[in-house]
């Protein structure tokens, strides 16, 4: 079953609100809370975009990103990485690994929606 947005985030409250605002913006959502689950969801659910937290249990967001970019089938999948304020090194690492864009926590909901929309190429709508 294909979904629009896959959210990989382990903080329940953040996940809850992300799920709410993205669903409300009109997309179908699947959410996972660790890196392993993120990778299998990417393969099985074929999301159109991944919203990926850096700090994930089992397998870090970086490792998930590296795997996504290493697999020919998912290489072009847009990935929006959630980093924490002050973690410039995280951002550099994610850039090197091929993240498409970043949102820095704490963020405004509207910015997340806007960025997902931009990466999905739905700006005109």
């Amino acid at each position: 079953m294909a979904v629009d947005v896959l959210i990989a985030e382990d903080e329940p409250s953040i996940l809850e609100s992300l799920d709410f605002i993205l669903r409300r913006a009109g997309w179908s959502i699947q959410s996972v809370t660790d890196g392993d689950a993120a990778l299998s969801a990417v393969r099985q659910s074929r999301p159109r975009i991944v919203v990926l937290d850096v700090m994930l249990p089992k397998r870090s967001g970086f490792e998930v990103l590296k795997q996504i970019r290493a697999d020919a089938a998912t290489r072009a999948l847009p990935v929006l990485v959630l980093t924490a304020k002050g973690q410039a090194q995280d951002r550099r690492t994610a850039e090197e690994l091929g993240a498409d864009s970043f949102i820095t926590k704490p963020y405004a909901n509207v910015d997340v929606v806007k960025e997902v929309r931009r990466l999905l190429g739905e700006e005109a709508q």
Partner: protein
């Protein structure tokens, strides 16, 4: 404003047990005139002052106060400072103390300087705290909490058609996060209280560390110097450098079996006798050591000023720190001579960072190659980012170059589970290890221990262990990942930075209690049967 000369003449005279009449006789004036001078009622100068100084066997500068002027100014500053202000000591007291007991005045000034330095370094410590894993974990939790609260609050505020269930769900979530942030904040404050007690003054070694860290362990000027020096010598080898040292600096190289000591009585495997222009090696020094130290000597003789210019960075505040920096940077230059940057990077990449293979290609030691790998940080032409650690057999870390993201303890010891310690059990063999920290970050560690070659049966050579660390994301570019499934984290060794800084409560190998947030109780070495040692009532 100077300390009055009269008081100094008088106290110096008394300390030499000379009577006023006697001193007056010797310098050819009346006792009553000397009395006026000593009570600062007459000015003394010229030939008379010179005679007084001679008779009292004291430097004229000490009497006139020129040498004490600065001391006096600093002492007045100390008296006026916030710590001593309540003692109500003023300029007259300062003059008096400088005149009567200059050594005590100097001691107070020294204390005052140490105090101002300590205050100035407080900011540095605040910055350093950010690298502490416990703090970063707590801060991460706060940031997550803020993210959730902000996002939830925006939904409550901006979404007009929330149903009751949704509304109460987000209110609950905000309440929960706010409460948990309160707990985290309390922990954080407790942590600051604890940390304050454990603070130490910045040492020269730390200053050097900061300099190296600030420059990302890459010194372009010294790379350029090394390139010039290498061009002078030609292909680097022990005979070539020896020949160049003799031709350009008249330095001879000698080897002998018996141990020698340097001018300060420090024994070593090598030393340079500057007056005889002779470099000595004990016969136990291996070829890699000789080649490296000869390059270092060549660099110090040919480019000492340029190395010193790099070592005179503003951040180094003491002569000791500058001396340590000079030594570290002359070794850096030697490393850059032995391992030319671009060629070495190409070789390292084509050999997949195989340190043993690189040693063969460059007649170098494991530590020399490992150290050089850390310095391949030229922007636009860099190798894998590595961190570096060296340990003695007591577990004490004796050299370290940090890696962004990975906290290598500055001093003391690291986590006992790290490969750097495993390597002591298998001297000469490279030990590799994939580790995972409690924040989920993963690194490849590779370590090897070795001892210096002994000179005789009685010679004890302690072993040291050298470790390189790289992010597991880069590990697949190294030979050390061969045969490892890096994507499978199930065999990772769960580690921390050091027990004091580690949050893994479940670790069976914990040797020391963590700095507990909020001053929690110690849980290691508890009695079998619980007893109430922690009751405060």
């Amino acid at each position: 404003m100077r300390a009055p000369i009269g008081i100094k003449i008088s106290s110096r005279r008394k300390s030499l047990a000379i009577s006023q009449a006697e001193l007056a006789r010797r310098i050819g004036i009346s006792a009553s005139y000397l009395n006026l001078i000593e009570s600062n009622k007459r000015v003394v100068g010229g030939g008379l002052l010179l005679r007084v100084a001679t008779e009292l066997a004291i430097d004229i500068g000490d009497l006139t106060g020129d040498t004490e002027h600065r001391l006096l100014a600093e002492l007045e500053e100390a008296f006026a400072g916030p710590v001593l202000a309540s003692s109500r000591l003023g300029p007259p007291d300062a003059r008096d103390l400088v005149a009567k007991n200059p050594a005590a005045a100097a001691a107070i000034v020294q204390l005052h300087r140490a105090y101002t330095d300590a205050v100035a370094s407080a900011d540095d410590y605040a910055l350093r705290l950010r690298a502490d894993p416990l703090f970063s974990q707590l801060l991460h939790r706060i940031l997550s909490g803020i993210t959730a609260v902000r996002s939830g609050a925006e939904i409550l505020e901006e979404v007009p058609d929330l149903d009751d269930e949704e509304r109460s769900r987000f209110v609950r979530s905000i309440t929960r996060e706010a409460r948990s942030m309160g707990d985290v904040a309390r922990n954080l404050i407790g942590q600051f209280d604890r940390d304050y007690q454990h603070r130490r003054a910045a040492s020269p070694v730390r200053e050097l560390d900061d300099l190296i860290f600030e420059r990302d362990n890459h010194f372009p000027q010294l790379e350029a110097v090394a390139e010039v020096l290498r061009a002078e010598i030609g292909q680097i080898s022990e005979p070539a450098v020896t020949e160049a040292l003799e031709a350009r600096f008249g330095v001879t190289v000698r080897k002998s079996a018996e141990r020698q000591v340097d001018a300060r009585g420090f024994p070593g495997q090598y030393l340079f006798n500057a007056s005889e222009r002779m470099m000595w090696f004990q016969t136990s020094a291996v070829a890699a050591t000789r080649q490296f130290q000869l390059c270092r000597l060549y660099a110090e003789l040919a480019a000492g000023d340029m190395i010193e210019a790099e070592a005179s960075a503003a951040s180094l505040t003491t002569p000791t720190a500058r001396r340590l920096a000079y030594r570290a940077l002359s070794s850096y230059t030697a490393g850059a001579m032995v391992f030319p940057y671009e060629r070495f990077l190409v070789d390292a990449e084509s050999l997949r960072y195989d340190i043993e293979a690189l040693r063969q290609a460059y007649t170098a030691s494991f530590e020399q190659v490992a150290h050089r790998l850390v310095t391949l940080r030229r922007p636009g032409l860099s190798g894998i980012p590595f961190g570096f650690l060296r340990s003695d057999p007591a577990g004490r870390l004796t050299k370290h170059f940090p890696l962004p993201g990975l906290l290598l303890p500055n001093s003391g010891h690291a986590c006992p589970l790290w490969a750097i310690y495993d390597a002591f059990r298998t001297p000469g063999a490279v030990v590799r290890q994939v580790v995972r920290f409690s924040d989920g970050s993963r690194y490849l560690f590779l370590a090897k221990s070795a001892g210096r070659r002994t000179a005789s049966f009685a010679d004890r050579a302690i072993h040291t262990s050298v470790m390189l660390a790289c992010d597991v994301l880069h590990a697949d570019q190294t030979v050390y990942a061969t045969g490892l499934d890096l994507s499978d984290p199930s065999a990772d060794v769960p580690v921390g930075p050091a027990c004091r800084l580690c949050t893994r409560r479940e670790c069976p190998d914990r040797q020391e209690e963590a700095l507990a947030p909020g001053g929690g109780q110690d849980a290691v070495r508890a009695p079998l049967v619980p007893r109430g040692f922690d009751r405060t009532d």
